[in-house]
């Protein structure tokens, strides 16, 4: 890429749009994952008894369910990201590439 190309892409409205959407997507999802995981870690550190409570009167505890839910959420978040990136970000990126290739 020549300095002119760089400047052209940098100023391109599609590029600005792409960057904004992409950053919003990955920063917000990262934040959610960090909050989930470190929230869990802090819960383990400060209040393990919360996780030790019985879920519905039986042996299975709240903590066991939380563990399984975190696994599910981690997978769901990656799935959501891939879905958004494939359906929203990529088309925008393709459009930008084609316009800049001209």
């Amino acid at each position: 890429m020549s300095p002119q190309d760089i400047e052209l892409i940098h100023q391109h409205p599609d590029f600005i749009q792409l960057v904004r959407r992409k950053q919003k997507l990955y920063w917000s999802l990262s934040l959610i994952m960090l909050v989930i995981y470190f929230g869990f870690v802090l819960l383990v550190a400060f209040s393990p008894s919360t996780l030790g409570q019985s879920l519905s009167g039986g042996v299975t505890t709240v903590g066991m369910l939380v563990g399984v839910v975190i696994v599910g959420l981690a997978f769901a978040l990656t799935g959501f990201y891939v879905y958004r990136a494939n359906n929203v970000i990529d088309p925008l990126n393709e459009k930008l590439k084609q316009e800049c290739a001209r």
Partner: protein, 548 residues
């Protein structure tokens, strides 16, 4: 490197009181396991031959020509994470402490979404063969490549030693083969896969093993659930009824009870994964950012599924292995040590034939992981040190590949020697240490190089080195080494995991030495960020898949 190893040999030499295998007596050869393992080896050697015929260029050798699909790469990444250490280690942790085992599993898993959101696509868009390509993208090649290669080799070799020793013990136990031959066999096969088949063979060996392990573990979990009438409640009730700790195994125990330790371990596990060179390298084996993204999605799914199965395996083993006296020796300890519960469970649910299968899978797992480690170490030598630093990019592909093969051979020999040297040493802390080091040495600089315009060569090199030095020093001063290994009374550093401090220091020094860098070179490097940013965001100019 040698100084670093001397640093580790010193404390390690003091340990004599621990061995992974509890009984040193010679065990009978396990013919089921050996037979099935031979089938695996023959099959993978066939794959290696097939791959060797397709490995012509440097791109083929390092990254399988960038031709893997997202699904295949996802399986291979999952295969790297669901190693023998996690299969045997986490199920053993659950067997002993219940819920605490799950905490470990979650730490590793939680790192993957972050890798997807922040690392995977940019890495693919900017790099070609190694993660040093990305860090040195707009910085000065020689110092940055030297540091990155050093970080890669440190992590890869330590990981390799931990795997080799574990492998030797495990194979001795499962197959009845002598430790010496077990370690040599692993080393020789590893070198064979990598030198002849390159990344293509390494990836396929990893995929085959991942499928075998997922299948085997699924079968075990199914049989355990069947035993309890498909009720997890009945399984947990059975486990709490017979476990010495009773219902305490259903809640967090001693692990992570200190908040600082908890956060430190969590950070180390989360970001350590994002600093493992053999994992980062996998992102270059797919054709573009889109496939890189898909591979993490599949990998997260497989890893999460595997860890959920391990809950069933671990808790099921408490009942089905723990209460069966035939799995205990005269003193009441589990035969072969705590790490063997998953293997005993295999026999309990599927008889000797399935025991043979799981043993063969455990061996295959080690082989697949060490092959990836050896390849990442060899790439650091041949691509970063030889082609980019020594020859300034003037080496031909043939020369580069030849150096890579020689480097693989050297790493193989070194791994065997170290594996034999460390045979009776306590290396359990090494595998935990590897993640903390990767999180401090590789991750901060990689992250900053992609996200922060201000990073300069000086900041990158000093950030990386301060992460390395602080991680190692803090670990030596921590209870795991200072008290348990060197037998001092009190640890100078009270926390068991250094990641929180060493990672912060690495970020801080990278920042400090970058912002105070007023050289013209630094200004030039900051000026080149925009072009890098555009390429990382859009993939314009990224290296594609090679055509066959």
């Amino acid at each position: 490197m040698s100084r670093l190893l001397a640093l580790f040999l010193l404390p390690l030499a003091a340990v004599t009181d621990f061995a992974m295998a509890a009984d040193g007596a010679t065990r009978p050869l396990n013919w089921n396991a050996i037979g099935m393992f031979l089938v695996f080896v023959l099959f993978t050697l066939g794959v290696t031959r097939w791959a060797a015929l397709r490995t012509r260029s440097a791109s083929d050798f390092y990254t399988a020509g960038g031709g893997m699909t997202g699904f295949q790469n996802g399986l291979a990444i999952a295969g790297d994470m669901i190693s023998a250490a996690s299969f045997l280690g986490i199920s053993a942790m659950m067997f002993l402490n219940g819920y605490d085992g799950l905490l470990y599993a979650l730490g590793v898993l939680a790192g993957w979404p972050i890798i997807l959101f922040l690392i995977a696509e940019r890495l693919r868009n900017l790099g070609k063969y190694t993660f040093a390509d990305v860090v040195s993208y707009r910085l000065e090649q020689t110092p940055v490549r030297l540091t990155s290669a050093f970080g890669t080799l440190t992590v890869a070799l330590m990981y390799l030693v931990a795997q080799m020793v574990g492998a030797g013990k495990l194979i001795e136990l499962l197959f009845g083969i002598d430790y010496l031959y077990a370690v040599m066999l692993v080393g020789v096969l590893m070198v064979f896969y990598v030198t002849f088949g390159g990344m293509l063979a390494t990836t396929w060996v990893q995929i085959i093993k991942a499928v075998m392990l997922l299948f085997g573990t699924s079968f075990m979990a199914f049989m355990v659930l069947k035993h309890f009438g498909f009720s997890t409640e009945a399984m947990f009730a059975g486990a709490t009824a017979v476990h010495a700790k009773g219902s305490a195994i259903m809640a967090p125990g001693g692990l992570l009870s200190n908040p600082i330790d908890a956060i430190s371990l969590g950070l180390g596990m989360m970001f350590g994964t994002a600093g493992l060179p053999h994992i980062l390298m996998r992102f270059f084996t797919v054709s573009d950012a889109k496939e890189a993204r898909k591979s993490v999605f599949y990998a997260t799914g497989f890893i999460g599924y595997f860890y959920l199965l391990l809950i069933i395996v671990g808790f099921g083993a408490i009942v089905m292995v723990g209460t069966d006296p035939s799995y205990r020796d005269a003193t009441g300890a589990i035969i072969g040590g705590g790490n063997m519960v998953a293997v005993h469970l295999a026999q309990a649910v599927g008889g000797n034939l399935f025991l043979g299968f799981i043993s063969a899978v455990a061996f295959a797992t080690i082989l697949a992981v060490v092959a990836g480690l050896a390849l990442s170490g060899a790439s650091a030598v041949s691509h970063d040190l030889y082609a980019c630093v020594m020859r300034k990019g003037q080496a031909s592909e043939q020369q580069e590949m030849r150096v890579s093969r020689i480097a693989t051979l050297c790493i193989g020999v070194l791994a065997i020697i170290l594996g034999l040297l460390f045979e009776s040493q306590n290396i359990a802390f090494l595998s935990g240490l590897v993640l903390a080091i990767a999180a401090s040495v590789n991750f901060p600089v990689l992250f900053l190089s992609m996200y922060w315009k201000g990073l300069t060569t000086r900041g990158a090199v000093l950030g990386s080195l301060s992460g390395l030095v602080s991680a190692i020093v803090l670990l030596v001063l921590s209870p795991a080494v200072w008290v348990n290994v060197m037998h001092h009374d009190k640890a100078l550093f009270p926390y068991s995991n250094p990641a929180l401090f060493s990672m912060s220091l690495a970020f801080f020094s990278a920042w400090l030495f970058s912002v105070t860098d007023t050289s013209p070179r630094a200004a030039h490097e900051r000026g080149r960020y925009l072009a890098q940013f555009i390429r990382s965001m859009t993939g314009i100019g990224a290296s594609g898949a090679s055509k066959h």
